[in-house]
């Protein structure tokens, strides 16, 4: 059943790639990672895993130049709003609002797993963390303030530039390493991290299973992986698509494709096959009265999962 789903997801994502137009608020949710992760792999589409990674990466390099010529109007559009990544009232507002809640989950799960002091101001001191699909760095910077040595990767060059400039404003965050690259490329460089974090990315990649393999390959044995995404539930359809896109206009119509969402069960299964054991899962709920997000047991719309890599 899962494989059937994956096929469907793949097909949908490939379709998506060409039909969708990128607009400011799409980027807010998708964080432009769509471009970074989808573009290369979608063009190689169902390329069998055995085809050898080096081939694939060469292809990536080629396709990225193809991509920029193809997607020029969209890249231009995105570049125009990339400057607003750090405007907490701007197009990325939904992400800014959600950020403290996501970080609270990451803080508590990682502190527990790595035995760090949760009352410390810099609990992640000495830990290496990678933020896959870092966008303008709104997750990378808090992680760095919490003491981690952070690597932020994003395939969109402009994002990386914005992230770099912003991080340099504060000596604490200026230590972040930003690279315009992909998870696959990091795997090839044999980079390893204590924790791998990729938020709101997987629903936009062409092949979630392959993506999870890469994330897992970046994680040290007994290391941690955190992924967040949107559930493929009726409520998610009603809230993330109908309400957010059509009624509230938080996101442009067509931002999310319901069929490309993963249910928590599917995510657990995919991660299991990548030697990641999911230990904890939580939902995000939005309170329209306070305008704030909070953690809950309700995983029916937005959810976040924490897993650890098997020791072997």
């Amino acid at each position: 059943m899962a494989s059937k789903l994956l096929h469907r997801v793949r097909a949908v994502s490939a379709r998506l790639k060409y039909s969708r137009t990128l607009s400011p608020t799409l980027a807010a949710f998708a964080s432009s990672r769509l471009l970074s992760d989808v573009a290369p792999s979608a063009s190689t589409s169902p390329a069998p895993q055995s085809s050898g990674s080096s081939d694939k990466f060469e292809h990536n390099a080629k396709s990225s130049s193809v991509r920029s010529s193809l997607k020029d109007p969209e890249l231009a559009k995105f570049s125009a709003i990339a400057d607003t990544w750090w405007d907490s009232g701007g197009p990325f507002k939904p992400l800014h609002l959600m950020n403290p809640t996501r970080l609270a989950f990451i803080r508590s799960t990682l502190c527990r797993h790595f035995g760090k002091d949760p009352s410390s101001a810099r609990p992640f001191e000495g830990m290496k963390i990678v933020d896959v699909g870092c966008g303008g760095g709104i997750l990378s910077e808090p992680l760095a303030r919490m003491g981690a040595s952070v690597t932020g990767v994003d395939a969109v060059d402009k994002n990386i530039k914005i992230a770099r400039i912003h991080a340099d404003l504060d000596p604490v965050t200026s230590t972040i390493e930003y690279c315009c690259t992909t998870a696959e490329k990091l795997v090839e460089e044999q980079r390893k991290f204590d924790a791998v974090i990729s938020l709101e990315v997987i629903e936009h990649v062409a092949d979630p299973a392959e993506f999870c393999q890469s994330l897992s390959a970046l994680t040290i044995p007994e290391g941690a992986l955190v992924i967040s995404t949107i559930n493929r539930s009726m409520r998610a359809y009603a809230t993330a698509i109908v309400a957010a896109e059509y009624l509230l206009h938080w996101l442009p119509k067509g931002t999310h494709q319901w069929l490309s969402f993963l249910t928590p069960e599917e995510l657990v299964l995919i991660l299991q096959r990548s030697s990641i054991c999911v230990k904890e899962m939580a939902g995000f709920v939005y309170n329209p009265l306070t305008g704030r997000w909070s953690l809950s047991d309700d995983v029916s719309v937005n959810f976040i999962a924490f897993g650890t890599k098997n020791s072997q």
């Binding site: 907490s88 403290p100 970080l103 009352s119 101001a121 919490m146 340099d168």
Partner: protein, 506 residues
Amino acid sequence: MNRFIRKSFAVNLGGIRVRSRCLCGAAAAGPSGSIRQSNHGQEQQCSGTSIAQYDIAIVGGGMVGMSLACSLASMPLTKHLNVAIIDSNPALVNGIRINKQDPPDPRVSTITPATTSMFRDIGAWQYLQPYRHAYFDQMQVWDYTGLGYTRYHARDVDKDSLGCVVENKVLQSSLLLCIQNADFQKRIFPSRLVSMSLNPGLKSKQMDGISSEISRADLAKLHLSDGTCLYAKLVVGADGSKSQVRELAGFKTTGWNYSQNAVICTVEHASENQCAWQRFLPAGPIALLPMGDNFSNIVWTMNPKEALDRKSMTEIDFVKTVNHALDHGFGPHPTSSLLGKGNIFSWFGAGVPTSGNGGFEIPPKVVKLASERMVFPLSLRHANDYVSKHVALIGDAAHTVHPLAGQGVNLGFGDAFALSRVIGEAIAVGMDIGEASLLKKYEAERKPANIAMMAILDGFQKAYSVDFGPLNILRAAGFHAANYISPLKRSIISYASGEQRLPLFT
């Protein structure tokens, strides 16, 4: 550019370490440095590389500002912060000497049990304990019409006390000792804030192209009257009702001046007073607060002309008018029932334990004046916003209330603790502490509470500024209701002791 930032950061760190060690040295040098800096001279004095950077700059080292510093120093998530305290009051560097033998200072605050427990949490209570502080467990409020009164007892809310009266200088010195003994990176600047730029890097770049300034774009830059400049991620305005930070940040305020002044002084009784008394007179309320050792504090609200008269009259005459105002003056003592024998409120209280509602009592006589008389104008002022990027207002800078129930400073302490908690939460999730969205959380928490208290106190003030028969009866009925309907009474006491929000406003 990167390298430059790291370098200057290293310099800053070094500077800070040295500075916190030679705090005493700076202290000695502080007050002697004359303040003759004028506005135009600052820019030249602030050279790019030597400017120190702080996490938080607290402008105003009064009770509220210091309580913020103490609270930050006491929490594991915030104690690493590097804080600048800006206040030209020499006491901050020289310390405050309190002679226990002196009669109490007339400037006092009634701190609520909620504030007391906050002081314990931040570790300042141990420094307050040795000095004079008077708990009271009873309160009587009545008015001049003789129609109503109400008596509260701490037992009504299962508490030991309703509040504690402490001299401001004792509060201030305990907070100062607390911060001095805390393991905390702070520096006191004995100076005044002159100007503030909230986007300094960008501006300077356009003006004179100093590239070093770009790296500071995300900080506030402060210019002090002694020519010092400093950068801070967050500037906290704790500089009172005429807040310079509020003006410089361009926050608008709403409010009005009451055409009233408060006369305050310390008085002495023949025996110890253990109850807080408040009587509403035609021109405003008079309050008599126990100070311990036969002393009480008086806060008497009246029109400005009267206030001047009362201040200049002889001591003997003044004591006479005080006793008159607290006893038979302006009207008779209230009787315990409003409408003769058939008291309409008596059956409300029937099912509820009366918990020692004593009858009406007359306050103890004042025998002599024990301090000078001071006169303060009263006003109500509320900042429309408490926060913007890099700026937050706390205490009187955000809201000045009628001193009617001694709530002003408690609201300020509430602000300080709320702000430090919000900062701690932000640090827990790695946020930039100057971020407006974070600061908004503080505002959302405090504004409703402060506005509710202001509205209640203002309403009280207005209700008593009119002497009109039917209204007097209504007010008296209000007192009776409050005296007899226990749940209502309980919630009023809880509210006044800072423990809960009035259900109406939540």
